[in-house]
């Protein structure tokens, strides 16, 4: 509203990461036609540089925190934490894509541009303080990922994934939009902090707001893949190009959970008793559906897809704690989860080989003997997903359980604990295949490309770092949680 230059500057500074991401994305689109088909991979590196710049921009945004554009969007600790997760995930996904696209013969500039736009959208989700802004972010990230999911346009499965994702995703965003409308109808505002103030004035939540919250939960539940809105996920994750799957499984989940946290705890902070059982039941369903279905998968990509459903369930366990401890646990879990899931999918990217043919668990037989370092990396990610101590995944679960127990949600924790043992079986099955089975004859290992190596090393190092020395990140997560509850 104001035209005061200093204020304008501050506004720009607070959305610097989005500006950088979009600018680099547009730059890639512009440069794309001028670069020969053979050298398109340069664009990948530009996109990667863009993500690094965006990480730097997060730093700039962190220097002057606060609301931008008259409270449309926040650059608070919470938003910045989410930014780092999604941008980091995007960077790793880009590194994993460069060689993959060459190998599949679909090296195109718009792929990277779309990743950057999607990331910008997710960044907006993390900071949005206005439901309509959040909707914009959601659409921006969704539409980009719909296209990305179908990027292998000659592969039938990829087309199926894209279409399925698009149709069901549109429904979900529609639900979300309806939810916003209801909330507006009930409170006369779509600004989250104002909605919070208005709702606090009511003795009983107006029915319209309750309905709105329900619709919002449906819409966002679809994006974070919790039961009963998970049906599309395995097909989409299986069909999408693997680096895109890696991105889909980690970044949108983090961003959407962030938005959920903001809506549930800030806007509807007083409605805890209202959504407690909805989330409880949804969490239990999510964990069981994810884990039980993953048990019987033979396709590793599909198995990891179900595992990411299960992990959404564990995150809900932290979510339900509804304390600052719980929010911090959600954030920590999201960071840990992004690292390990990204790492696991990137290994799958490499091992899939041309046309993503080698995805069956049998194709991993004897990998421990053939490519010991890669197998060790993959084992690390799998063990972390399983929740073995000294890895990030364990501490994620640990803090989630701790937060839930702190809020006396005991049985859900017990159910989650039992689920994590069920989950152990299918992760270990891959390890069995890699180490205990004899290598198959027809497999000729290919060297891991440097870009992918960097990505894997970062993910592996991050997984171990968060597992052994989580104190710093935990502190950041806690201050992020505190900054969220401040509003």
């Amino acid at each position: 509203m104001t035209h005061f230059p200093a204020e304008q500057l501050a506004n720009l500074q607070r959305v610097a990461p989005e500006i950088v991401l979009c600018a680099v994305g547009i730059l890639i689109m512009i440069v794309d036609p001028f670069i020969g088909a053979a050298r398109q991979r340069v664009l990948g590196w530009i996109a990667f540089a863009g993500t690094l710049l965006a990480l730097g921009a997060v730093h700039i945004a962190a220097a002057d925190r606060g609301a931008a554009y008259s409270n449309l969007i926040f650059a608070d600790g919470f938003s910045l934490f989410v930014h780092v997760i999604v941008i980091g995930a995007a960077a790793l996904a880009i590194l994993g894509s460069i060689n993959y696209l060459d190998q599949e013969g679909i090296q195109r500039g718009e792929y990277y541009a779309l990743i950057l736009f999607a990331t910008a959208g997710m960044g907006i989700l993390g900071g949005a303080n206005e439901l309509v802004t959040a909707f914009l972010g959601l659409e921006m990230s969704s539409i980009s990922t719909y296209i990305l999911a179908g990027f292998r346009k000659r592969a039938l499965k990829s087309n199926e994934a894209s279409l399925k994702y698009f149709i069901l995703g549109s429904f979900a965003t529609a639900f979300f939009l309806y939810g916003i409308a209801m909330v507006y109808g009930a409170t006369g505002s779509t600004e989250i902090s104002k909605v919070a103030t208005i709702l606090r004035g009511f003795h009983h939540l107006p029915d319209l707001a309750v309905l709105g919250l329900g619709l919002i939960f449906v819409g966002l539940g679809f994006k974070v893949v919790v039961a009963p809105f998970q049906v599309y996920a395995p097909d989409v994750y299986e069909g999408a190009p693997t680096p895109v799957t890696a991105l889909l499984a980690s970044a949108p989940k983090a961003a959407t959970f962030a938005l959920m946290l903001r809506i549930f705890f800030v806007a509807f902070g007083s409605a805890g008793s209202l959504w407690f059982w909805a989330i409880w039941i949804s969490a239990v369903l999510t964990m069981f559906v994810g884990n039980l279905a993953a048990l019987v998968q033979t396709n590793v990509k599909r198995m990891l897809a179900y595992s990411s459903i299960a992990h959404a369930g564990y995150i809900m366990v932290a979510f339900i704690a509804s304390t600052d401890l719980g929010i911090a646990a959600v954030l920590f879990y999201l960071a840990a989860y992004a690292l390990m899931k990204m790492g696991a999918f990137l290994v799958v990217t490499h091992l899939g080989q041309q046309g993503e043919q080698r995805l069956d668990i049998k194709d991993y037989a004897g990998l421990g003997m053939r490519q010991p370092v890669l197998a060790a990396c993959f084992s690390l990610f799998l063990l972390s997903l399983l929740g073995l101590p000294a890895t990030a995944g364990f501490l994620g679960k640990f803090f989630a359980f701790q937060a839930a127990l702190d809020s006396r949600v005991i049985w859900l924790v017990v159910i989650a604990a039992i689920n994590s043992v069920i989950g152990a079986y299918y992760y270990l099955r891959v390890i069995i295949s890699m180490y205990f089975w004899e290598p198959s004859k027809d497999y000729s290992p290919t060297a891991v490309a440097p870009a992918l190596t960097v990505a894997l090393v970062v993910a592996a190092f991050g997984t171990l770092y968060l597992g052994l020395f989580p104190a710093r990140v935990l502190l950041l997560a806690r201050s992020a949680a505190a900054s969220l509850l401040l509003h």
């Binding site: 421990g368 003997m369 010991p372 063990l383 073995l388 101590p389 000294a390 364990f394 501490l395 640990f398 359980f401 701790q402 127990l405 702190d406 006396r408 005991i410 924790v413 017990v414 604990a417 039992i418 994590s420 043992v421 152990a424 079986y425 270990l428 069995i432 180490y435 205990f436 020395f469 989580p470 104190a471 935990l474 502190l475």
Partner: protein, 750 residues
């Protein structure tokens, strides 16, 4: 804080240095890899012997402690040892070089990975024994699984994959519930004083033993069961043992040695270290059941071992039997038996480790474990079979070898308290002679039945080295047991301290009951106390249908200001678990009838309460006293006033005693609950009138729907003031609210 001492850190992580060195080597340089592994483990052993030098056997506390901040939120890097963990660390470092030596030739596939796994598992196991932070403990505990999983799965025999996955899923299931219990304990750890929450084991123990973390009976039992499940699977306790025969049989020799020698001890160690001191009351209650399972394990393991055709499976089942002895010794809750249990842990590690090594040597020659494939082996291999015999004798507890000392201590310790247990367990000792000697006879004596066995080479130098070392250890532990036991005595006592205290308290109470004369506090003190009590919200003055009296037992009746009493009484009414205890010097009466506010007590409640005061000395003297008819259906109990009740020490000097009379709905359950409470010392006396055949009172339910048998140690009071949730009305009561409506309303979150 103690001076930082890095010795334990060094001992724990030294094997990882060897791992680093091996990682630098090429994976086909087998000779160097083996040498590095062996040298590392030998240095580690010598190094760990240094612990003996620094260890002071007189000190029952944890020694060589090291504490650093690690993650925050009460998670620390805290190491330390006592007399129990000291020897288990030594056992680990002693067995690892032997395991490496025995794999010298037999492991040819992926040699590097194998020795790395062995050294990593050594670090993890030592870590379990030395960590004093529950979080750190859990990390090491889980880390032992993965290397063993690989050892069984990669280098094992035919059914290795099945065995490996069974092993790891079984163990994980147990330990994940332990993790929940650890977290729960962490949440409770601030206790009544609101100290910072912590995972630090000595700190939690300290708070618990000083009554700062009052656990309810059910909570304690659940926590205990969660810990016990994890440990019992590891031990393994019957009927959770089914993973063990598979894992042992399918593992390579070194894997079996480590598995049987050390990893099973993680379970028994966990029980000793955590279950006993943290949850003494639950342990007391559960001891008969656990001991029964242990005895079933002893006999069942022995019987199943007898009929095995597979030599390695036979040895595996002996572990079920022998570890049953250890668990029995622990749950006998007696110093001698516990010392025996710890000693037997070491013995079993050495003897069963040795048995597996010997079986492994036979396997190296014939590649089978089938007893039928052997026979008359003494002829081609006199030396090896002589050692085999010696090891078998040690395992079946022949005096003066090591096994005898442990089993003997366990049996006499158990016999002192529980004769039947000891008698049953002894049958296991007899059976062990049968299965071991019979198996040895079939393997070693007679004619050589299989031609291949005619020309088997006798023990090589490397094998002789292993066998002589073990034989020396067996003899040494048999004749020099005081060297071990005097170092572990103080720690064993320490573990049993809560139980000894309970017994002493029982004994002291017996004496005290005879001369129960305690001076009454000055009336001025009393009224000051009552005046200091916070005034309750008047609307909550809803009294139950019971009456209660607090008295410093034995004083003469004197009545307080009625108004103060009323407030006082109504205040305590809020304590759901108690019904209605009321503070008073001599005899005091609760206000009364249900459904009304601020009313005088009903005549029945009045009579009950006043008579209770005179009745209690009676009750204390003899539980079976006849009860006056007006007490029909009432339970009267005298119990310890919980810590933290304001004015407790002032009002109730020795012992802080309160009496309450409550209408009892489930006489049998109440009687049992009271017996338990009496056993643990929080309840002094209990009288339960036989309920005559008359209709139950119109509204027998007490506040919150709880009746008499609920736990009386619930942390209702906090130091200094009553808990805020007792004072703030959590739900607005309408003036005519009946207790039933209170019962239906949601419970106040603690």
């Amino acid at each position: 804080m103690h001076a930082q001492n890095h010795f334990l850190t060094l001992v724990t992580f030294l094997p990882l240095l060897g791992v680093l060195a091996m990682l630098l080597l090429k994976s086909d340089d087998h000779v160097s890899i083996r040498r590095i592994a062996l040298v590392t483990s030998l240095i580690e052993f010598v190094f760990s012997l240094g612990l003996l030098r620094y260890f002071s056997s007189a000190d029952p506390n944890f020694q060589l402690q090291e504490i650093h901040d690690w993650i925050g939120r009460g998670i620390q890097y805290h190491l330390g040892i006592d007399g129990i963990s000291l020897f288990l660390v030594l056992l680990t470092t002693f067995l690892t070089p032997l395991a490496i030596l025995c794999s010298w030739r037999s492991i040819q596939k992926n040699v590097k990975g194998f020795f790395i796994s062995l050294l990593v598992i050594e670090t993890a196991m030592i870590g379990v024994f030395v960590s004093l932070d529950l979080f750190l403990f859990f990390v090491f505990w889980e880390l032992t699984l993965i290397p063993m999983y690989f050892i069984v799965g990669i280098w094992g025999h035919e059914r290795r994959v099945y065995a490996a996955i069974k092993f790891i899923l079984y163990t994980m299931f147990g330990s994940i519930l332990m993790l929940v219990a650890i977290l729960w304990l962490y949440n409770l750890s601030p206790g009544t004083r609101g100290l910072p929450a912590t995972f630090d084991f000595p700190e939690i123990l300290y708070r618990m033993s000083h009554g700062q973390i009052p656990l309810g009976g059910t909570t304690e039992m659940l926590l205990f069961l969660a810990f016990l499940l994890a440990f019992a699977i590891k031990v393994p306790l019957f009927p959770l043992h089914t993973w063990l025969p598979d894992a042992h049989t399918e593992a390579p020799t070194a894997g079996s040695v480590i598995l049987a020698g050390v990893m099973l001890k993680l379970g028994t160690y966990g029980i000793l270290r955590f279950c006993l001191p943290l949850f003494p009351h639950a342990v007391m209650r559960a001891a008969p059941y656990v001991a029964t399972l242990a005895i079933i394990g002893i006999v069942y393991g022995a019987l199943v071992a007898t009929v095995q055709r597979d030599l390695k499976r036979l040895v595996a089942y002996t572990s079920v039997s022998h570890l049953g002895f250890v668990v029995l010794g622990i749950f006998a809750l007696n110093t001698i038996a516990v010392q025996g249990a710890v000693y037997q842990m070491l013995n079993h590690g050495v003897s069963t480790g040795a048995l597996f090594l010997a079986v492994g040597m036979l396997y190296d020659r014939r590649h089978t474990h089938d007893i039928k494939q052997f026979g008359g082996l003494t002829t081609p291999m006199p030396v090896l079979m002589a050692f085999f015999c010696f090891i078998a004798l040690s395992s079946l507890a022949l005096p003066p070898l090591n096994g005898f000392i442990g089993e003997f201590l366990i049996l006499i310790g158990t016999f002192a308290g529980h004769r039947a247990w000891a008698v049953w367990a002894t049958s296991g000792a007899v059976l062990s002679a049968i299965y071991l000697l019979w198996a040895y006879q079939r393997v070693a004596f007679g004619k050589v039945t299989v031609d291949k066995n005619q020309k088997l080479p006798d023990a090589s130098l490397r094998e002789k080295l292993i066998l002589v070392t073990l034989a020396a250890a067996i003899i040494f532990m048999g004749v020099a047991s005081p060297l071990f036991t005097h170092r572990m005595a103080a720690s064993a006592d320490n573990v049993l301290r809560p139980f000894n205290q309970m017994q002493e308290a029982m004994r002291a109470k017996e004496h005290a009951r005879a001369k129960l004369a305690i001076s009454a506090p000055h009336p001025a003190q009393l009224s000051r106390f009552v005046g200091a009590l916070p005034r309750p919200e008047p609307r909550r003055l809803v009294a139950p249908t019971s009456a209660a009296v607090l008295c410093s037992a034995g004083g003469s009746p004197a009545v307080l200001r009625p108004q103060a009493a009323l407030e006082c009484g109504s205040l305590f009414t809020l304590n759901e678990s108690e019904g209605l205890p009321l503070c008073c010097n001599e005899a005091f009466v609760a206000p009364g009838t249900s459904g009304h506010r601020n009313h005088a007590p009903t005549p029945a409640a009045l009579t009950a309460a006043t008579t209770a005061a005179s009745l209690i000395p009676l009750a204390l003297r003899h539980e079976g006293n006849p009860v006056p008819p007006q007490f029909a259906g009432m339970g009267v109990r005298a119990f310890r006033v919980p810590d933290g009740v304001p004015g407790r020490d002032l009002l109730f000097p020795h012992p802080p005693l309160a009496v309450s009379a409550t209408r009892v709905r489930h006489p049998e359950r109440s009687r049992l609950a009271a017996r338990d409470r009496a056993a643990e010392g929080s309840l002094f006396g209990f009288v339960l009138a036989d309920s005559p055949a008359r209709p139950a009172p119109a509204s027998p339910r007490l506040l919150g729907g709880r009746s008499f048998s609920s736990d009386i140690r619930r942390p209702v009071y906090r130091s200094g003031a009553l808990a805020p949730d007792l004072l703030l009305p959590s739900h607005p009561l309408t003036p005519g609210a009946s207790p039933k409506s209170i019962a239906a309303s949601p419970r106040v979150a603690p």
